[in-house]
């Protein structure tokens, strides 16, 4: 899963306003690392979603791959 894919899933689940709020805190990550599959980038998004009251971990696990360690 890439950062972009996860953000798209969050947008489908919570709408664009929520993603705009996410973007305030993680704009650089979302825009510059859109193709990243690095765990710390994906986890950073999940953590900020949690701070905003949304559990994005299931969205990340939907595409669980043991090799990625999630």
């Amino acid at each position: 899963m890439t950062v972009q894919t996860l953000v798209d899933k969050i947008a489908a689940a919570r709408g664009p306003f929520f993603v705009a709020r996410l973007g305030l805190r993680l704009q650089f990550l979302i825009e510059r690392e859109a193709n990243s599959q690095r765990e710390e980038h994906l986890q950073a998004i999940v953590e900020v979603c949690s701070e905003l009251g949304f559990d994005a971990a299931p969205l990340l696990r939907e595409t669980f791959r043991p090799s990625q360690g999630f």
Partner: protein, 232 residues
């Protein structure tokens, strides 16, 4: 790169029904008397500046400096986190921090949040403004948003003594829904404690038309507008 639009599609509620992606069509003749009210509930946030140069909906400079710098200084009040948020997405940051820029109209404010910035330091605004316009820093939290309902009702009351209205339409901004949070459910009861419309319709809108006691209607946002229609 994916870009988030500001808000979701408008929703409407009427007589227990819920409509999404609907169109509201009202037809009435000259025997109908319309009365209108508008309020944001915004409160002074203690700072202001004047636009020096504008071009259409772009503020080019303010107080002789680049408009972007002045707007960010005024909105963030030297808080680096807030400044970063407003620089990244000023409209969403306004909702996040319950802070906005607004023009003053008597005791009321019309919100005018920056919605973007130009590469040369200008501010892209929601509607055009003339040089010399004074913009105030205002607070708009959930208490303010509920006060907007009461203020709009008071405006209607000043226009008519009647308590019973045939049709009242409320236009409430999508951004107010975020600001109100769990208190969004207080909005309609607050209205209905003061008015007794035969039919009441609420439209959650992405941008409203504000019309204040007979003045010229104008585009606005983060606002609560009322339209009361009665037989003449």
């Amino acid at each position: 790169m994916w870009r988030a639009p500001l808000a979701e599609p408008s929703l409407a509620f009427a007589d227990g029904r819920f409509e999404e992606h609907g169109v509201l069509l009202l037809a009435f003749d000259e025997r109908v008397r319309g009365r209108y009210a508008f309020a944001t509930g915004a409160q002074s946030g203690g700072a202001s500046f004047r636009l020096t140069e504008t071009g259409g909906s772009v503020w080019k400079s303010a107080e002789g400096r680049r408009a972007r710098d002045v707007a960010l200084d005024t909105l963030s009040q030297n808080d680096p986190v807030k400044r970063a948020h407003f620089a990244a997405n000023p409209a969403i940051a306004a909702a996040e921090h319950s802070v906005c820029l607004a023009t003053r109209d008597g005791e009321d404010y019309w919100c005018a949040p920056p919605i973007g910035f130009t590469p040369d330091g200008g501010v892209v605004a929601f509607y055009p403004m003339k040089p010399g316009t004074e913009l105030h820093r205002v607070r708009l939290d959930s208490d303010c948003a509920i006060e907007a309902v009461k203020a709009a009702v008071a405006q209607l009351r000043r226009q008519t003594d009647q308590q019973s209205h045939e049709l009242v339409i409320s236009f409430t901004c999508t951004m107010r829904g975020f600001t109100l949070g769990d208190r969004a459910m207080e909005e309609t009861p607050t209205l209905l404690r003061e008015l007794s419309p035969r039919v009441h319709l609420t439209v959650i809108a992405n941008g409203e038309i504000g019309c204040k006691e007979g003045a010229v209607p104008r585009a606005t946002l983060w606002a609560y507008s009322l339209c009361s229609l009665n037989s003449a």
